[in-house]
């Protein structure tokens, strides 16, 4: 199973890794996709920054798991 970035097609092996990639990349096109899913990029970042546990990534990963899965 792999997960393809909906913006740049980068392949990740877990939705959490893909969330890390998308937030980490953080350029306009990746941010626009994140916004289109009802998230505020800055809120995800703040979730990450303010506490242990990677909560910002986890929130985005839930959406990515459903939308970007590709059967190998």
């Amino acid at each position: 199973m792999s997960y393809h970035c909906p913006v740049c097609k980068k392949v990740s092996h877990a939705p959490l890794d893909l969330a890390r990639h998308m937030i980490g990349r953080g350029d306009k096109v990746h941010r626009d996709w994140i916004y289109s899913k009802g998230f505020k990029y800055s809120e995800l970042l703040l979730l990450q920054i303010k506490s242990f546990g990677g909560e910002g990534f986890k929130a985005l990963a839930k959406v990515l798991e459903k939308e970007t899965k590709v059967e190998d």
Binding site: L16, R20, I23, G24, G26, D27, K28, R31, Y41, S42, L45, L46, Q48, I49, F52, G53, G54, F57
Partner: protein
């Protein structure tokens, strides 16, 4: 007896005689006919819009030959992370906005420095001052002013590393600690400030003499910013008075001198003064660290989680790399089965933070080694034992990140343990603290997007047997010319004195990424070794024919004698064979070529050094003042190539890293650095230096030339952590913010006293 003839011997530094006799010519010593002198006008505001720049008066001033502003540029932004255009965010000469006090806005070339300085005062800049933000924790709030357009929360870069299942692992821990630390800034304090002479000629060629850690990077960055072709720019690195991470990005002296020279077709020299060096170049990255560490009762570390927010300053520079490396080295040098790192770099209206010796690892080592001692203390385990239990070993894989081949960490632990035992019972208020560390031997990353090999070298053997080495590697005072000459001499089997090295001139040397990330011994060393082997092979063809040897025998050269390895007495003079080979090749010069780029070596580096340092301090409990008495280091750098060089690196590192732990800082108020002078900036000086000792460790790194790996930056990593732990051992107080000043120790001692009194009262 050593199997090597040259490496590992004590030799005089290449260029050392020139330096100690005052004959070495640094960039600032070079004067060209008709040369002009440049000065740079800098922003007095931390954040402002540029409304108008009026240079007319300055241009009319007698003696002024040229004035440039952002309008004279091709309007590009530059950065060393060329693969990521959004991280190329620095104009150098600002066109519309300034982002820190010191941002350049104009530059003048005149017949002398005084005229250029005076002309700066005639340039009128109208600014619209904008709200500014200085602290990264404030910069990442919704209310903070946006420093770069479109960068939300001013978060410039974020980096994440994770393996294992951190959340589950914490549930299995017997003990968890959460701690916060603050790591301060530090100035590079090179003896030679940033400087450049640029000479653009009527043929459209630009030559730049500059104090740099990477001639190649400066060549390519100038190409981008001036709209020229790479081959039309030649960058020459004369003697250089230190870099420490501050000199491998394009700086204002290089860019403005080049721009001015292009305008007037005359050489222009710009030398930054010490105040500019402190306020307008780059610096070590201040960091807020949040750590969570979980362990079993027996001291087995199960999980670590790290969050970091760094004060990035106005531009990206090398800050993105420092952000990644501090996260990677937060896991060092231990085998964490579960690890998570989240790092964020915030833009602020302060001087840009970037690379500095250790590259994020001095920060991670200070916080990590402090917390590990706290964990050991909580669990009642000896600090050496907890490190022994969890320390990396040879052939260890850092999941998804790195493959450790050689690792002498446990040998280092044994040596340091013996050293501590040897010190016996210490007097009151004295303590020995330890810190373990590791570091890379050059970075694998190619954010610069070079199409060339990371290192390359050419070896030319002359008719008299003397050898010329051409390498793009930069000698910046760290001794790379010496190390590379030793490697070449060993491989060719000639004397060290037979080698003449030509380095870091892009006009005659093959490209090399330069002196940063402790890369030159391993990477440039491999390239030189390969080039020497290539030249040697060409000689051996003639030697084998001359000797008429059975093909089952192998030949080698030692001390100028080409011989059968199994029968060393049977051979022929190297010098005779060189002559014969050149004649036999129709007079063609013997030239060997070598190059090195790491492949399939993980994400970070092809090899890692390891070490432990023990710092011994004595604290005066009345005042908090303490003295660093001894720093003893067991450092695993693989096969030692240049022992004198390692000793120099160690002493320099103690001075620099001790300063980071003890006194160095760059406090600022409203974006203005408060101590921008050598008299105000506190350093460890010669009389404050502790006794330093290095304990030798015997390891061999398969990836390194003759088994060598780094011995430069890694030594900067442990000292602050070791000092912090030593102070705790001495007087029982823990300081979580750098630098650990006597004032902080004093305050902590008073707090401790208060708490103890309260406890006593309660008992009564």
């Amino acid at each position: 007896m050593s199997k090597y003839s040259v490496i590992g011997t004590r030799v005089n530094m290449v260029g050392g005689t020139d330096k100690v006799t005052g004959n070495a010519k640094y960039t600032t010593d070079i004067n060209l006919p008709g040369m002009l002198y440049g000065k740079i006008l800098r922003s007095p505001h931390p954040h402002a819009k540029i409304l108008r720049i009026d240079t007319r008066k300055a241009e009319k001033m007698v003696g002024v030959k040229a004035v440039v502003t952002g309008k004279d540029t091709i309007g590009k932004k530059q950065g060393i992370w060329r693969r990521f255009p959004e991280l190329c965010d620095e104009e150098i000469l600002c066109r519309t906005k300034v982002r820190f006090i010191g941002d350049p806005v104009a530059s003048v070339a005149a017949i002398d420095e005084d005229t250029a300085e005076e002309a700066l005062e005639l340039i009128k800049v109208d600014y619209e001052v904008l709200p500014a933000v200085f602290d990264p924790m404030e910069a990442i709030t919704e209310e903070a002013p946006q420093i770069h357009e479109g960068v939300e929360l001013n978060i410039n870069v974020n980096r994440h590393i994770e393996w294992g299942n951190v959340d589950d692992a914490f549930k299995k821990c017997d003990h968890i600690r959460e701690d916060q630390f603050v790591c301060s800034s530090q100035a590079h304090m090179c003896m030679e400030t940033h400087c450049a002479i640029a000479s653009f000629d009527y043929n459209g060629k630009l030559t730049v003499w500059t104090s740099t850690q990477s001639s190649y990077y400066i060549q390519v960055l100038l190409m981008g910013m001036l709209g020229m072709r790479e081959g039309d720019i030649r960058v020459i690195n004369p003697y250089t008075g230190g870099g420490f991470g501050s000199k491998f990005e394009l700086d204002s002296a290089q860019f403005c001198a080049s721009l001015l020279s292009k305008k007037v077709c005359k050489p222009v020299k710009i030398v930054l003064n010490r105040m500019e060096e402190f306020t307008a170049t780059k610096r070590r990255t201040p960091m807020y660290y949040f750590l969570k560490l979980g362990a079993k009762k027996d001291g087995t570390l199960l999980a670590k989680e790290v969050r970091v927010i760094t004060e990035g300053g106005a531009y990206t520079a090398m800050g993105a790399t420092a952000l990644y490396l501090t996260g990677f080295f937060s896991s060092f040098p231990y085998k964490y089965p579960n690890y998570r790192y989240d790092g964020y770099r915030a833009y602020t209206n302060t001087q840009t933070s970037s690379a500095m010796r250790g590259f994020g690892a001095p920060q991670s080592t200070f916080v990590g080694e402090s917390q590990l001692d706290m964990m050991a203390d909580d669990l009642g385990i000896d600090p050496i034992e907890i490190r022994r239990k969890n320390g990396m070993t040879p052939d260890y894989v850092v999941p998804g990140q790195a493959f450790i081949q050689s690792c002498g960490l446990h040998q280092c632990l044994d040596k340091i343990e013996a050293h501590i035992k040897g010190r016996g019972k210490l007097p009151p208020n004295r303590g020995i603290g330890i810190a373990a560390y590791g570091f890379m031997s050059g970075g694998i990353f190619n954010w610069f997007d070079t199409p060339y090999a990371f290192s390359a070298a050419i070896v030319k053997i002359n008719i008299d047997g003397k050898v010329d080495v051409f390498t793009g590697a930069n000698e910046i005072g760290q001794g790379s010319d010496t190390t590379l000459s030793l490697i070449c001499a060993e491989e060719l089997g000639v004397n060290f004195d037979d080698i003449r090295i030509h380095s870091a001139d892009t006009g005659i040397c093959p490209a090399d990424l330069g002196a940063w990330g402790s890369r030159q011994t391993l990477m440039s060393g491999n390239a030189v070794k390969m080039a020497a082997a290539d030249a040697k092979r060409q000689l051996m063809e003639f030697a084998a024919a001359k000797l008429g040897v059975n093909i089952v025998y192998d030949l080698d050269i030692k001390d100028g004698w080409i011989h059968l390895i199994d029968r060393p007495e049977r051979g022929v003079s190297y010098f005779d064979i060189v002559k014969a080979a050149i004649r036999g090749k129709d007079g063609e010069t013997i030239i060997g070529r070598g190059h090195y780029t790491p492949h399939r070596k993980g994400m970070i580096s092809p090899a890692y050094s390891f070490g432990i340092q023990a710092a011994e301090v004595e604290v005066d409990p009345e005042t908090g003042k303490y003295k660093l008495l001894r720093a003893t280091t067991a450092h695993d750098s693989g096969q030692v190539i240049n022992p004198v060089g390692i000793e120099g690196q160690l002493e320099g590192a103690i001075m620099m890293a001790g300063g980071y732990g003890y006194c160095e800082d760059q406090p600022h108020e409203n974006g203005r650095i408060l101590n921008p002078a050598i008299g105000d900036y506190q350093l460890i000086r010669s009389l404050d230096m502790p006794e330093t000792n290095i304990l030798e460790i015997d390891t061999y790194e398969p990836e390194g030339p003759f088994g060598a790996k780094e011995a430069g930056e890694g030594l900067t990593n442990p000292t602050a952590g070791a000092i912090g732990n030593a102070i705790y051992k001495a007087v029982g107080v823990r300081i979580n913010t750098l630098p650990i000043t006597p004032e902080k120790v004093f305050k902590a001692l008073k707090e401790k006293e208060k708490k103890e009194k309260k406890k006593k009262k309660k008992k009564k």
